[in-house]
Amino acid sequence: MTQEISSLMDGELQGREADAAVSACCGDEDRKRTWYLYHAIGEAMRGQAPASLAIPANVFEKLRQQPTVLAPGRRVPATVTRVALAAAASVATIGVVGWIGSQGGGGAPVEPVVAKAPTASIQPVASTAAVVTAPVLNVQTAPVLNVQEYLVAHRQIPTPDLYRPVTNRAPVAVAR
């Protein structure tokens, strides 16, 4: 049943399926709560936190009065990017970027405070066989923006996923 409610909200159900889901959805208190909770979750993920998790008293009455809209199924991943960014939240604070020292011309700037490797290459973190965190939303729409991988690569964020354990590493490894 929760699958039906989810599909209904995603606009995947049409015609009789949708009708069935709508009547089922409003059929009992448990399902009403599920329906409302899913919307609340969706809103929270879009950054519009609901004022309360309790169902407003009149919401189903208003819903009943709404005309049925028969729209083609659509799966617009409008919130996917935002969600992907949110997924990166816990690791986004840390980043590593090189020191640009005296590049760019215009006289001799003050020597960088850290004298070691002022314009050195960036230490790699992303690894070959690593599996990045599973997508937050299981959206099948074609090219989903996977911001997380690029964010991790840009800020050189250390994550266990990108640090391959030595046991998974094929040839030579140094274990201590």
Partner: protein
């Protein structure tokens, strides 16, 4: 004047370090330079909250400087636990959930309160640096340093620099409309002799014996010539490095070019436009993080950085083969 050109004090003994005792600098650039140096040379311990757009995280940082060596411990207080213990450029990254510790070499980590990647005079090429008011923050007097960008291709920055040591205790990034979109702020802070060398020891170190240790240095992303360049780079941005990086799920390495103006940075990624093939441009913004992706023939260009969207678009649309 005197303090503006002064170098940091290398001889600090017995785990007790403090900022320069020579009094606050005379001008804004001196303040900015001192703030940059204080993040490396001062001893401090505290918890800070980082909010960027809709995201918030809490981090504990402990930093001491002993005989010129930096020792630092970073611990995430939100989300999956991790800890980084750093001695100068050596980083031990502990991931207790994965029972993994990783030895890595840092080039330059942007750990708050260390936000700058260039000396003050390089930053002054892209920003007007001015001094603001003195405020009482967390029991310390701190002076605001304002960085107003010379053009619309970057955000403006405000830093609250502790008067005694120069350490940045609060930092705000503002968009072109003057709204705060990213913020770092200490919620508690100890400075100077209150911080001991032992405070930067790993809390996981004792448990690590059964963990997987990976100390293999990574060779895959040494600086290389990727063959790509950006022709429409905004003024003030300079290339930090370029490399080939192996990203998960991709058969071929991805080229990455990193640019910075000393404060803001952006990465340009170029890779084959694979399956599923992207056919249109797309972008997203959250806080200071801007993401822009654009198909370019058989290639896919992705720009990610702490810059306004038009900057990311300008950069992304001017990627070309190096002549």
């Amino acid at each position: 004047m005197l303090a503006g050109g002064r170098r940091w004090l290398p001889a600090i003994a017995l785990g007790v370090a403090c900022g320069a005792q020579a009094g606050p600098p005379a001008d804004a650039l001196g303040w900015l330079q001192r703030a940059t140096e204080a993040a490396r040379n001062a001893s401090y311990a505290g918890t800070f909250v980082h909010s960027n757009g809709e995201r918030t995280s809490t981090i504990r940082v402990t930093h001491v400087s002993v005989n010129g060596d930096e020792h630092e411990r970073i611990e995430a207080l939100d989300g999956p636990p991790y800890e980084i213990v750093r001695r100068n450029e050596e980083m031990f990254c502990y991931f207790p959930d994965a029972k993994t510790v990783r030895l890595d070499r840092r080039v330059n980590a942007r750990f708050f309160p260390s936000l700058f990647r260039a000396p003050a005079d390089v930053i002054a090429r892209s920003y007007d640096v001015k001094l603001g008011t003195v405020e009482h923050v967390l029991g310390y007097d701190c002076r605001w340093i304002q960085l107003a960008p010379h053009d619309a291709s970057r955000f403006s920055e405000r830093l609250c620099s502790e008067v005694g040591s120069g350490l940045v205790v609060r930092a705000k990034t503002l968009n072109l409309q003057g709204q705060v979109i990213e913020q770092y702020t200490f919620t508690d802070l100890k400075l100077g002799p209150q911080v001991a060398r032992g405070d930067v020891k790993s809390i996981f170190e004792a448990r690590v014996k059964q963990w997987i240790t990976d100390s293999q240095p990574r060779e895959e992303a040494k600086g290389v010539d990727t063959g790509w360049t950006v022709t429409g780079l905004p003024p003030g941005f300079a290339k930090v490095t370029e490399l080939r990086r192996t990203l998960p799920g991709r058969p071929q390495p991805v080229s990455q070019l990193i640019y910075s103006d000393g404060l803001a940075s952006l990465s340009v990624f170029v890779e084959p436009n694979g399956a599923p093939k992207r056919t249109s441009e797309a972008s997203s913004e959250d806080g200071t993080t801007t993401f822009f992706v654009r198909p370019m023939g058989d290639q896919l260009v992705t720009v990610l950085g702490e810059v306004p969207l038009p900057t990311a678009q300008q950069v992304g649309r001017s990627v070309a083969h190096r002549p």
